[in-house]
């Protein structure tokens, strides 16, 4: 019964923290849904803990202890999450690089011949790389 109480306190506390974070907009969109789902799952798992349901599920998939089942699921979940975040980090870094260069390009003095008007610049001065980094629905891809 003590395990049950501890599990309940932790999972309900986590659910509350998630809801608070969403309300204060520190979690958004997909991340909000994801963590809300995880929190609810944790609460459900805590409820099922004393009923022996988890042990039953573990046995049917060939795992002896319910705790091993939960641990395995947690590891898989975390690996997928980290992979996803590292993809997003790379994307964010590409955008940051492009923006940094763009700011520098806006501030730098053009060469003399460009100032003299010999050069016709393209219509869109904010011509950004046409990679999917700047894939925006309102801007048609070239």
């Amino acid at each position: 019964m003590r395990t049950f109480s501890v599990a309940m306190v932790i999972s309900v506390g986590f659910l509350a923290a998630t809801v608070l974070a969403i309300r204060s907009r520190r979690l958004r969109d997909q991340a909000a849904l994801l963590w809300l789902g995880v929190a609810v799952l944790l609460v459900v798992a805590s409820v099922l803990l004393p009923l022996g349901v988890l042990d039953h599920i573990a046995h049917t998939v060939g795992i002896v202890y319910a705790s091993d089942l939960l641990l395995s699921l947690a590891v898989v979940f975390l690996v997928v999450l980290v992979f996803h975040q590292s993809v997003q980090l790379a994307e964010t870094k590409d955008r940051q690089t492009a923006l940094t260069q763009e700011i520098a390009l806006m501030r730098v003095e053009p060469p003399a011949f460009a100032k003299a008007g010999h050069l016709q610049l393209e219509a869109d001065p904010l011509r950004l790389p046409s990679s999917d980094v700047f894939d925006r629905p309102d801007r048609p891809r070239p």
Binding site: V82, Q85, S86, L89, A90, K93, D94, Q96, T97, T100, Q101, I103, A104, L105, R107, V108, E109, P110, P111, F113, A114, L119, L121, R127, P129, S130, S131
Partner: protein, 290 residues
Amino acid sequence: MREFTDEVNVAVEGEADQWDTDRLGEDDCEGVDVDPETDVLDAEPLADEDSSSPVVQRRLCVIIPAYNEAPAIGQVVRNVRAAMPTAHVLVVDDGSRDTTAHEAALNGATVMQLPLNLGIGGAVQAGYRYAQRYDFDIAIQVDGDGQHDPREAQRILEPIERGEADLVVGSRWLGRGAYVAPKGRRIGMRILAAMVTRGTAGTITDSTSGFRAVGRRGIALFAEKYPTDFPEVETLVLAARQGLRVQEVGVRMDQRVAGESSLAGVKSAYYMLRVCMMLLVDGLRRRGRG
């Protein structure tokens, strides 16, 4: 491929700071066998098959990436301007914390200041984006630390001006000047040269040289995408995959005065390993994508 760190905070002294440590080849590589047939120095002098077209002044942009090079950058800019008087000299200041930008501007360069430190790859790419935006015909990269002799630039520019190549690399190994290389780098440099040579279908002996020039196709390609991990090596493979004609010419380079660290052997082996891994990763990438 990247460390999972807070890039913005680390940028100042973190991974983006690849300026010296990661650019082995510049001062410490052992020569690789040179196939005399590919030595452009021995090629016939000025071919004038293009003599029908009128002589037009080509717009040349010198891209000088610089990070905390205040003591050297002024002299570099003066040397470059003396060697290439008609060229537009652009110093890309990669978020230096010293007076690099000021020194460069004082000596007559146009200075592009990056608000964040991007590392050599991001800085050079900014230069190429400038060259593309202002419609330059040729861009030549010269390092901001003075190890490249701008008087040698004409050798690199020639194959592009003649329309024979899209990307020309200045090599220390092709017979100009006595470059004394420390031992222990031979095997690594050979493997690297072999890998790059396979990718470029031509002999590249000095794949880490940052002394290079490109024509319009190269400017367009590098403005669009430019590798950040080992840009000197990776750009060669990228350019070749995109069908650019890559050539190498011999140039004289100043040897850096800095003494050699006892860790250099280990470091260069580690560098080699990382470059090889990176080339493998590049090989997995779909063509036509960054």
